[in-house]
Symmetry: C2
Subunit: 611 residues, 2 copies
Amino acid sequence: QTDLSRPSVREAASMYGTAVAIFLVILVAALQGSVPPENPFPYRILLDPQGTLELSWNVSYVQEAVHFRLLVRELKAGLLFGMSDRGEMENADLVVLWTNGDSAYFADAWSDQKGQIHLDTQQDYQLLQAQGTPDGLALLFKRPFGTCDPKDYFIEDGTVHLVYGILEQPFPSLEAINTSSLQTGLQRVQLLKPEVPVPKVPADTRTMEIRAPDVLIPGQETTYWCYISELPRGFARHHIVMYEPIITQGNEALVHHMEIFQCTGGFESVPHFSGACDSRMKPERLNYCRHVLAAWALGAKAFYYPEEAGLPFGGEGSSRFLRLEVHYHNPLKIQGRRDSSGIRLYYTATLRRFDAGILELGLVYTPVMAIPPREPAFVLTGYCTDKCTQLALPPSGIHIFASQLHTHLTGRKVVTVLARDGRELEVVNRDNHYSPHFQEIRMLKKAVSVFQGDVLITSCTYNTEDRKLATVGGFGILEEMCVNYAHYYPQTQLELCKSAVDAGFLQKYFHLVNRFNSEEVCTCPQASVPQQFASVPWNSFSRDVLAALYGFAPISMHCNKSSAVRFQGEWDRQPLPEIISTLEEPTPRCPASQAQHASGPTVVSIGHSRG
Amino acid sequence: QTDLSRPSVREAASMYGTAVAIFLVILVAALQGSVPPENPFPYRILLDPQGTLELSWNVSYVQEAVHFRLLVRELKAGLLFGMSDRGEMENADLVVLWTNGDSAYFADAWSDQKGQIHLDTQQDYQLLQAQGTPDGLALLFKRPFGTCDPKDYFIEDGTVHLVYGILEQPFPSLEAINTSSLQTGLQRVQLLKPEVPVPKVPADTRTMEIRAPDVLIPGQETTYWCYISELPRGFARHHIVMYEPIITQGNEALVHHMEIFQCTGGFESVPHFSGACDSRMKPERLNYCRHVLAAWALGAKAFYYPEEAGLPFGGEGSSRFLRLEVHYHNPLKIQGRRDSSGIRLYYTATLRRFDAGILELGLVYTPVMAIPPREPAFVLTGYCTDKCTQLALPPSGIHIFASQLHTHLTGRKVVTVLARDGRELEVVNRDNHYSPHFQEIRMLKKAVSVFQGDVLITSCTYNTEDRKLATVGGFGILEEMCVNYAHYYPQTQLELCKSAVDAGFLQKYFHLVNRFNSEEVCTCPQASVPQQFASVPWNSFSRDVLAALYGFAPISMHCNKSSAVRFQGEWDRQPLPEIISTLEEPTPRCPASQAQHASGPTVVSIGHSRG
């Protein structure tokens, strides 16, 4: 299938063996289709920690396609670029630029579960231009969101795991390449950025920079840096209307994500601190700085509030203390790099019509919601019931315009769906490739209005294949959460609308597991729920019955004004919302005509210039 | 989208209103592709009870496509033909030949859930020829097994529900057609006939016809006719090597299926009988005539045994008495039709190397295996364990060459898979559109060899949406079965290898359901299992836990020489076979290039000749 004109492998290897770097210069590019107009790639990201692979892209929702521009600063003998479910190099959907020493080829390919590369029967990555530039080789290509090739990745909303690999030497054929022998890496990004028009910013807008104080980035892979800053005394109530990242030049590949949290209003002061968030020196009070003011992650651009709303900060009852958290991702363990990255807040004293608020949806942080061990995809679901929205929302409803999904380490998918009268109507936010390492606030493509009596259903899918005991809900990093922070306006008193299974029914479950198994589950009254879960003998039955219990038993609701204050009413032993019709998962729409696709690799004429 | 040149609707209607039948004569046919060579359609079936629509087809496994020839004897204003999941006219994948009064069109279309017709964005039925013949209009067209159009039906092994509709009048556009207002019908057929080379038949082959004795077909929709015939006294042991249907001319559309059963060897005589199988006059002994010798269903051709095997009948210990069962399907309630259809057995006295045998796989007929009510697709699974195959099969294994699937009324899918060392290896037989009204013995595309220690897993999917109480396993027509009659050689003593859940674990289930629900499940010792199931309060929990129980609890095995005699060993409380890797469901392979597809309807030039 990849019967290309091949030079002898030995010849190719010796060319490389001379230790003279091979620079491929594209002389003539084989072009199909048209190149988009000037500066057409609004989104940009560095793929590798060295910054030699720079990806820019745009999204056409009309064509249902993404245009990519991949700038390769130091081309060796070729490269792989593509996408896979969770960033693995196996079972990946790839474009490959490679040379056999004579010619260079560009092709749509895929890697099997052993990492071997194969040519796709259908060529869905379409090369538009290959051009030598002063910065390096620029490849322009295009991919529809969905193809009809089952080997292909389906580009959908939410996180996309981009992968790359560097070819250091020629390969006699595509099939000779195996990703396991290459330098490879991954980068997470929201590829399908929403096309939201940029709202106007008021004339009196001022800015405030919350930045790391010239931090020496530790020479370790992962650092969460915590820094306390404060608003001026007497700082009045303002509205944040937008914010944007400030990245210290040269550190673009190291700064992974940043968040600004406001501390609770209760404290007169919070100690100053600048250090690792897991440091023993960290003041205990920093744990009370959890109210999100701003969040940025790699690949995100400026975040704008809708024109009619702003996020209030400053003034009476609002803490002056802010915690900046910067996640440095330094896989090459570079030493001695200094950083002053942070976030620039744009705020106005002319308050907008509505305060924006954040509503926490999903599961209560409680061990009664647990995931059995060795599960590839176990789903837990949290509800915001009709009874709570009826009581807590205004008759005119609220409008969710952005959302930040949150789980701990085993989270793999998160989705929140809006249901009305028992029918799922709309997805609030869905991420089928969610990663706990990539939590950004995402603007919704379209704001979702929630009215009194509506139900919000948040489901998280977990992978516990590498765990031996049940993973229970809780605050610990080895415990789990299932949360959607919904950003909305107008602000209401409702801060929390979450659920958990009724504790009494869970005790019936432990009894029943006991009855079906010879081992003894500790059901003694002094055993805690985590201890009880730890003694369940896990098998298909105890797992299936737990899932059935979560899908059937009544729930305990947290319909709260703040994390401690509930709205008045009976919230225990509530019935699960009944859903009579569900939304379907998105699937690729197959293009009507596929005549334009080449059926094999594109040959690219090249010459060698030896440096 | 269907903006075709349309004459005024009134004009078209008035043309029809003249009560002059409109005959469309295709003058010039728009052709793409090539017409297959002479007599290229080995399979043939009448679609409607009047016999005006005759479908012939062939299968190309190389092209992965079916060529159809549809002969329309009395064309009115057009017709619909296609396929759907279970024969419904809604959500069907259709070709439509229609006229707006001026022109005639042929198009690939689909019907939505309300029966309205829409043009497919991708035209996958390809018209090859439209020709007037002395018998009527002959349409030749082609369809790949799978297309990438999600609206399209995926043609796979097993039953295909063909549907048709008659257009009595012109329609201004395709979208104006709704199937609910048409004369429609369905026909079940195995479209993907296996390409098995026809084995040689020995020179000394003789034939025997087992036929209905000039029966007057009752003027009712459904009749099962039972007729007892007998072999000559002293008829020696022979091998049946093939058989074929004999259909009385004119009754092709009425004779739905036929089976010949042999009675058990125990009776000296069986009373002669010719009458409806459900007649009160039917002798009780006929119930002991259940050993299948031959089975034919609509659309099937001759059945050949493999060259090295034959089905033994006659001789010592074999009953002389045969029961012929003919299913007459007479939806038009035609009166006065006489029938002598039957089956012609080809047998030889020169016994072949191997006796063929029939092995019954699946579930034991017992109420402990039950399906909750209101289930769209509940799965029950029966096992033939490694322990049984180890004991009962010869070291050289057996070869399954044909299979007949069997359930009662709620069966919707059946599949048997072969597993070895915990891994599913091969599908023995799969029918994703199984119908209890279409049970034929099917040759396998490729014989499946089963060795000592192998496991055979038979799963049946049931639809009980129209039932209010649980459906338990058993012999009754309102009870259920899950059986695969595997035809194999060389014959062994193993006649039955089936399972059911352990009865003790089922009692634990009833206790547990009791504990979780306020209603009382009758767990008193005198209650029968059907009574216990009848008192279960069905909800998602009791249903999910029953499914979990069936997927976990130990099983009771029937590893039997005959229906009453077990092989020696411990067969109760056996562990469920552990399966660590499963086979994937078949999915359409998307063709690499689809350039040849037209993107809209094909215009066909026509003229009107008024009769």
